[in-house]
């Protein structure tokens, strides 16, 4: 994979500054993302999850962990459907995430919406919708509010797919952010397919990162399956954005190892060549990071179990919690349409 950097320079190797405890935590997070995915696919297959789709992030773990790890607690994120673990990394209790997936009363949306369409402004998690590009424009407003409050160094990381870069709000949002130098970092998870449509039918340029040229902002096209590449680029982008230099576009080149969602597994094997899937299986970010950790000499094989202990149990406990937690009352479907704390009722 080619790594294209601004002005042809290599980024600082920020990852080399991480402590041993960080490395273990990163390793656990990568595995958490993988096991989260597997647990939900399993729950859907076995009928424990009866409603809604499961959108796999298998193979995209390095992006989620690498883009969130260097963030400050007061930064913002707007995760999309293949970023479920990001909610947890940014402080949302795992039980709440599972309640959201199971459509329970305790979920952040109280069962109103599903999967990733949730947020929590107290945690700096901005709510996204199914129209992935639209949140990039909304991000401008969140950042404008920070400007009004004199907090110009809070960064917002907006995730999106390569397909959504073809939508209007992607352009309007980035254009606005660039004109006003808002600290917006757009992370494009280029997993090669928007549902079934390959990237070359979504994007006319060789890389998605080239779109940045139109906004006069830095654009990176990096190996999204290499944690260190993602982490280093993110650190560089954060420094740029925090210093008031405006937005950054990071294209993380990766691959969607599964179908668009769990219902799509059979067809996804037809609209994509098997050799392509097999090739990307070999680029799995998890063993790659493990190899890196071993090469540092700081760890032995035994230090890095595959998977690390306790994570599966933690996820299973949260699923069990969600399953046994109460469903929303039917009448609550008509709540939260209007906020009458400062208005009149219908």
């Amino acid at each position: 994979m080619r790594t294209r950097r601004k002005n042809g320079q290599q980024a600082v190797a920020y990852h080399q500054r991480l402590e041993k405890t960080d490395l273990i935590e990163i390793y656990r997070r990568l595995w958490f993302a993988r096991l989260f995915d597997e647990a939900l696919y399993d729950a859907k297959k076995k009928g424990r999850l009866r409603r809604g789709n499961v959108y796999s992030s298998r193979g995209q773990e390095a992006i989620m962990v690498g883009t969130t790890y260097p963030l400050r607690p007061d930064d913002f994120v707007s995760p999309i459907h293949r970023d479920m673990p990001v909610f947890v990394f940014r402080g949302m209790p795992l039980e709440q995430v599972m309640c959201q997936i199971w459509g329970k009363a305790e979920a952040p949306t109280r069962g109103k919406d599903s999967w990733s369409h949730m947020g929590d402004m107290d945690l700096g998690i901005v709510h996204s919708t199914s129209m992935l590009g639209s949140t990039i424009a909304v991000a401008c407003g969140v950042l404008w509010a920070q400007r009004l409050d004199g907090r110009r160094d809070r960064v917002l990381v907006a995730y999106t797919g390569e397909g959504a870069t073809a939508t209007g709000p992607f352009h309007e949002g980035l254009n606005f952010a660039a004109v006003h130098k808002l600290p917006l970092i757009v992370v494009v998870e280029n997993n090669q397919y928007a549902y079934s449509t390959p990237v070359e039918l979504e994007v006319p340029t060789k890389t998605v990162a080239e779109r940045a040229l139109g906004y006069g902002i830095p654009g990176y096209s990096i190996d999204g399956n290499d944690f260190n590449a993602v982490y280093d680029t993110m650190c560089e982008a954060l420094a740029h954005a925090r210093a008031g230099n405006g937005p950054v576009l990071i294209e993380c080149v990766t691959y969607r190892l599964q179908g668009h969602a769990d219902h799509d597994e059979t067809r996804a094997r037809r609209y994509r060549p098997v050799e392509e899937i097999e090739m990307w299986e070999k680029r799995d970010p998890l063993p790659r990071y493990r190899q890196y950790l071993l090469r540092t000499g700081l760890f032995t094989e035994a230090d890095l179990p595959e998977p690390p202990l306790d994570i599966k149990e933690q996820i299973e406990r949260a699923i069990a919690y969600a399953i046994s937690s109460p469903d929303p009352e039917p009448h609550t479907a008509l709540e939260d349409i209007y906020d009458e704390r400062a208005g009149v009722s219908l």
């Binding site: 952040p108 709510h127 639209s134 909304v138 401008c140 009004l148």
Partner: protein
């Protein structure tokens, strides 16, 4: 009391809310340096600075989205659509993003935004500077829709809309901007018109005329005319289209037993259709005649004067319809 134009009433409401609450900001095309295409925001940039009076690129999506995101983070943005027709560019932000936000945040994140702009015909604006597509938003849960007819209401409703915790689409009929003058309260009176409250602008006994925006003035003119013929119209100015003040409507209908609904938008599927349905559901036994509607023809608003006149409703049409109802 201050005697001001319809436009000045809106300008003063925005100005006073900006003075009152530092969380309020304005965003739109040409609203800063130029003061807006119609001059509604003249002098704002100088007083409040570029962080609160944002000259945005031509990006209705980004303009509305900036208000939405800022609202999620505790601010109150007012977006100007240079012409309300252009809201179609930002439709997804209004309907799918702003409208649903509170719902999908489990009631935690209200979106107090106002999307305002000049609407309506009768000025030769043609297809994209004349529309009244309030029915789009009337049909959408989570939104409120406002259209005043008089300066005092424009003033009080704009203040209420900015303070309301929900997305409000605020229609300002451009035909009224400089034609209509009237008294508004002084700033210190903190005058507010509650959203969702209609106002009877003329009391009468024979026919209830329900209207909003410029159509209120047409209805009042028709009422004056018909008075000489002994037909007495009661004219209700809805002021807020959503939520609808059904209480005021039904009380009047039960008194007059005849209903004429007047709206400037295409007749089919318009706000008047819903009002007619609700009256039929809830006051059928009080009715002495079919519910009638005067609205625009199911067309676009054309440019040439004879064409525009043919499509849009007129005082004459209201007079004819009222006579028909009176004779029924």
């Amino acid at each position: 009391m201050r005697e001001v134009t319809f436009l000045e009433a809106i300008r003063l409401a925005l100005w006073e809310e900006m003075e009152r609450d530092p969380n309020v900001f304005l965003i739109g095309e040409d609203i800063g340096r130029m003061g807006g295409a119609f001059g509604v925001t003249e002098g704002f940039l100088e007083r409040f600075g570029p962080d609160r009076v944002i000259d945005a690129p031509i990006s209705e999506t980004a303009i509305i989205a900036t208000c939405v995101g800022a609202a999620a983070a505790g601010k109150r943005g007012v977006a100007e659509m240079q012409f309300i027709d252009f809201i179609s560019y930002g439709f997804d932000q209004v309907v799918n993003v702003a409208g649903t936000y509170l719902y999908r945040s489990g009631g935690k994140t209200p979106i107090p935004i106002v999307v305002r702009g000049p609407s309506g015909g009768y000025v030769g604006g043609s297809l994209y500077h004349s529309q009244q597509f309030e029915a789009w938003f009337f049909h959408t849960p989570g939104l409120k829709v406002v259209q005043p007819a008089f300066p005092d209401d424009a003033y009080g409703l704009m203040k209420a809309s900015i303070r309301d915790n929900n997305p409000v689409i605020f229609y300002e009929h451009k035909y009224l901007y400089r034609r209509i003058k009237g008294p508004i309260p002084e700033a210190h009176e903190d005058y507010i018109v509650k959203l969702g409250s209609a106002r009877i602008r003329r009391y009468g006994d024979d026919i209830t005329v329900i209207a909003y925006g410029a159509m209120v003035h047409f209805a009042l003119e028709a009422a004056q005319h018909l008075e000489k013929e002994g037909i007495s119209l009661e004219v209700i100015d809805l002021r807020t289209i959503k939520p609808l003040d059904m209480k005021t409507i039904l009380e009047s209908v039960r008194k007059t037993s005849k209903v004429l609904i007047v709206y400037e938008a295409p007749k089919t599927g318009g706000v008047g259709a819903e009002i007619a349905a609700r009256i039929a559901e809830r006051a059928f036994e009080w009715l002495d005649a079919p519910i009638m509607r005067v609205a625009a023809k199911d067309s676009f608003v054309p440019f040439a004067e004879p064409l525009e006149k043919f499509v849009l409703p007129s005082v004459e049409e209201i007079v004819f319809a009222a006579r028909e109802l009176a004779a029924y």
